[in-house]
């Protein structure tokens, strides 16, 4: 590694939290609700040659796709900065998730009760990777048709995974989701370290 420690420039430690969920679940809205900057967008140009298929036909199957990730930033203190990354909604970009998920503190799975099945992919992914996550049920227009427990049952997640109702537009509500996630991570860290 070419890491350098400089005595002069105070470089904060950066942490990242992922925000996953189906298309239109409100990921960017959630990021924007707590970010100190307007959500920024970063793009990756992918050549998806033969992804998920046996590619025997060569260049003819190559397509270039641009995948966008929106992200925001929260400065916790001068030496600690939190980045929130909205994961690309399309399931076929799993490999981008791998890069995003590497080193992530944890994840928020934003669920839309009108399309709960959209959350399954994200839940499976984080469970397999052992990435700590919480499920935040986005209640559009105060439309709380289900309780957190009903959603937990429908999604069939482990009892220790926090499930909470939220309003992705509301700063306090999203703040509460993030605090719940980090407390969940803290519990996991504490239980994995011998007392």
């Amino acid at each position: 590694m070419d890491s350098v420690r400089s005595e002069t420039a105070p470089v904060p430690q950066a942490l990242k939290i992922l925000v996953a969920g189906g298309f239109g679940a409100g990921k960017t809205t959630l990021v924007g609700a707590v970010s100190e900057i307007a959500p920024l967008r970063t793009e990756e140009v992918l050549t998806t040659a033969g992804v998920g298929t046996d590619d025997t036909t060569g260049v003819a199957t190559k397509t270039t796709t641009t995948v966008a990730m929106d992200f925001g930033r929260i400065t916790i203190n001068p030496s600690l900065v939190l980045y929130l990354f909205g994961t690309p909604g399309q399931n076929r970009f799993w490999f981008l998730w791998d890069e995003l998920a590497t080193g992530a503190l944890g994840a928020v799975v934003l669920a839309d009760t009108r399309r709960l099945a959209d959350s399954f992919a994200a839940i499976d992914y984080f469970e397999q990777r052992n990435t700590p996550f919480v499920i935040a049920v986005n209640c559009f227009d105060n439309d709380q048709r289900y309780t957190a427990e009903q959603v937990r049952e429908a999604l069939d997640v482990d009892g220790h995974v926090p499930v909470l109702l939220t309003d992705a537009r509301d700063r306090m509500s999203v703040k509460n989701v993030l605090i719940t996630l980090v407390e969940h991570v803290l519990t996991m860290v504490r239980s994995s370290v011998p007392a």
């Binding site: 950066a14 992200f71 939190l82 980045y83």
Partner: protein, 129 residues
């Protein structure tokens, strides 16, 4: 190669508008290189320029990155602000790194979660928002 590519082209509505995408494809900026030559950069690796604008900096894009990183900035932020795909930015960062024009500060190792003190600081900071 000083020939104007539009010489002899009839006047008319421009076809190379914003929707058509960049006239110069993103990877032209990197001379066709698609992978960082030596090292990779995490999205939250911090970058700090160790030089002000160097006269012999290879390209305007390199210059733009140097200007941005006069204060510490994460890779994702740099990519977003220079409006280039991440892959392109990573290649340019490798150039700057090997020329000794930027320093990188990597996030902690990825195979374990932050320690209790860090997590408590995050919770405290979020509560204070």
């Amino acid at each position: 190669m000083s020939t104007d590519p539009l010489d002899g082209v009839e006047e008319g509505p421009a076809w190379w508008d914003h929707e058509a995408g960049p006239v110069v494809r993103p990877y032209m900026v990197t001379g066709g290189r698609v992978r960082p030559v030596t090292v990779d950069f995490d999205l939250i690796t911090y970058l700090v320029a160790t030089a002000t604008l160097a006269a012999d900096t290879p390209s305007p894009e390199h210059q733009a990155i140097l200007a941005l990183t006069q204060e510490p900035r994460a890779v994702a932020e740099v990519a977003s602000r220079v409006d280039l795909p991440l892959g392109v930015v990573r290649v340019l960062l490798c150039d700057l790194l090997s020329d000794g024009l930027i320093a990188r500060y990597d996030p902690p190792p990825t195979d374990h979660l932050p320690n209790v003190e860090t997590l408590q600081a995050v919770i405290h900071g979020l509560r204070a928002l």
